[in-house]
């Protein structure tokens, strides 16, 4: 049995040398996307895949709705917002966390007064784009409650 385990590990390890990169569906964080929009990144297409009602209520600057007549050029940088499907385009992103994350992180970034330096840098970066888009960065007493997700873990450690 030990030999079998060792052999399996060895094979998977050697194959890892030739595995290449993970599939190129990437996600972009809300603050970075905000910078792309502000800096007018060339060939940027922001495609909102939600319903017309939701789109009309609130959508990202320069976003367009995905309709049957939407077409893309081969070298477009495409960001799908709120769900999105894999496609054969090279540069495809999903907005990480969807609309909620855009609102939480770009429109309303928060920080506590005694936060560590590493958190401050991220907050400063978020505040710059936040004000550009008319958001409200705030210093708060208590950080908002979070689900058991990656950011929550970062604050509490293991």
């Amino acid at each position: 049995m030990r030999r079998a385990l060792a052999a399996a590990a060895a094979i998977l390890g050697v194959l890892a040398l030739f595995a290449g990169k993970a599939p190129s569906i990437q996600s972009v964080a809300p603050v970075e996307l905000a910078e792309w929009i502000r800096d007018r990144k060339p060939n940027l297409r922001i495609v909102d895949v939600r319903s017309e009602a939701e789109f009309d209520e609130y959508h990202l600057p320069r976003a367009e709705r995905f309709t049957s007549t939407t077409t893309f050029a081969a070298d477009d940088t495409i960001v799908f917002v709120a769900g999105g499907e894999r496609s054969v385009h090279r540069d495809v992103y999903i907005l990480r966390g969807g609309m909620q994350a855009w609102i939480d992180e770009v429109m309303n970034p928060t920080i506590t007064a005694d936060a560590p330096l590493s958190a401050r840098a991220a907050y400063e970066r978020a505040s710059v784009v936040s004000r550009y888009f008319g958001g409200v960065p705030r210093v708060v007493d208590k950080l908002p409650a979070m689900h058991a997700d990656a950011k929550y873990v970062r604050r509490r450690g293991c």
Binding site: A9, A19, S118, C158
Partner: protein, 179 residues
Amino acid sequence: MNPYAVAVLIGITFGWTLERAGLGSAPKLAGQFYLTDLTVFKVMFSAIVTAMLGAFWLSRLGILDLSQVYIPETFLGPQLAGGLLFGVGFVVAGLCPGTSCVAAATGRGDGAMVMMGMFSGVLVTGLVFAPLREFYESTSRGSLTLPELLRVPYGVIVCAIVAMALIAFQVAERLEKRA
């Protein structure tokens, strides 16, 4: 599924596996540091290799999105100092935080005492935290990984670690036979 329910289930399998391996017994764990019983090393590194290969391949096949998994952050100074201290405490106590809970759960009074010591150590350090804070927050490198640090592809690091582990296991078997 409710995240806390997931936590309990994962904990149950974690605790079960540790006890099955004998890691709820302090003398067995301590044997690692006198080179008589290298179970700690074998279990730990088999686990690391398995989870590392699993994470690499699930990510490569598009099944797991590693950007959504929390990677423990790097703070070079505190983790070096903390690691050395932790090692000293580990060989004195014979149990680590996780295994001390297993030991206590199976009736071992020393396990319960390690838990109490851990709690006290954390409590006191937290209470006198102010002078430590600057050091604690120093040398941050964020979510730095070995592939990024060494500027070598992820797959190459994975292969290297598997190779080193397999060699180390051979050495461990030989050391145990001599003990």
